[in-house]
Amino acid sequence: MTEISTIANATNNSFLDALERVRPEFANLSQEELLPITLDPVTAAVTMRGALPKIMAMRPVIETLSNFDVRALDKLEDYLRA
């Protein structure tokens, strides 16, 4: 029971930490830019987590793209947790 509570608290903290890291970027989004939530967060998480190893394997090549902001790749996990 204590172990489960500890895990739950750690998970909550990691979600809250991610939210704190992402929160400053919220100000850059206008009301018009907000997307309606049409995805189940768990489904999105499963898809993203499944794809992440392959995506990260391509990171060195993706970094060579001059027009691509590689921070999107680094922040994906935080966005998901937030």
Partner: protein, 196 residues
């Protein structure tokens, strides 16, 4: 904490009703009870009942299962619940603000993933395996929606070579009797009669 206070409320109310039934407590002493709907009502009832039991404790001794230690415990739990409720009400983050933050995080996530898919699509254009590396979060829903949004007149025009419309009438959206039937299979109403 609410569950604990609610359990006290149930026990105390049950005993109080039994004591009223036996004529030990006056019926009007329970008139102030508000019921079990809502945190504040439950808290209010526990306060009413503990006060009722303490006020009449001399008469109730030996006639109820409730103990003074239990009343003390209920008071402590009630105090904690009231503090929780107070803090929650004073928290600036309302439900609406929470919903907006959720939508903002969702937007950032979907946009970032979309950018990554675009980059991979560009890099793997020849292989055409973007969906294997970074599958769409929407499972093709967006693409279908975009196809449905095309005006029927466009599908009636001569298709460019190599386009989906040039693949044959089965892939076209047929317009029959003013009703658009998308992707009607051969032999079904709305399908092209000249298909092979």
């Amino acid at each position: 904490m609410l569950a604990k206070v609610a359990a006290f409320r149930d026990n105390f109310a049950s005993d109080a009703h039994a004591l009223v039934q036996r004529g030990i407590l006056a019926p009007e002493s329970l008139a102030a009870l508000k019921g079990v709907t809502g945190h504040k009502n439950i808290a209010s009832d526990v306060l009413t009942l503990t006060t009722l039991f303490r006020t009449n404790w001399q008469r109730l001794t030996g006639r109820t299962c409730i103990t003074l230690a239990e009343l003390d415990e209920a008071d402590a739990a009630l105090d904690a619940l009231i503090t929780d409720l107070g803090l929650r009400e004073q928290t600036p983050m309302t439900k609406e603000a929470n919903a907006i933050e959720r939508q903002q995080a969702y937007t950032l996530f979907v946009n970032a993933y979309d950018q990554i898919r675009r980059a991979i699509s560009f890099l793997r254009w020849d292989q055409g395996d973007v969906d294997e590396i970074a599958p769409s979060l929407f499972g093709g829903k967006r693409r279908r929606a975009a196809t449905e949004a095309e005006p029927p007149a466009e599908s009636a025009t001569t298709p460019a070579a190599g386009s989906a419309a040039a693949a044959g009438p089965v892939a076209n959206a047929a317009v029959a009797g003013g009703t658009t039937v998308a992707n009607a299979a051969v032999g079904l109403p709305g399908s092209d009669p000249f298909s092979n």
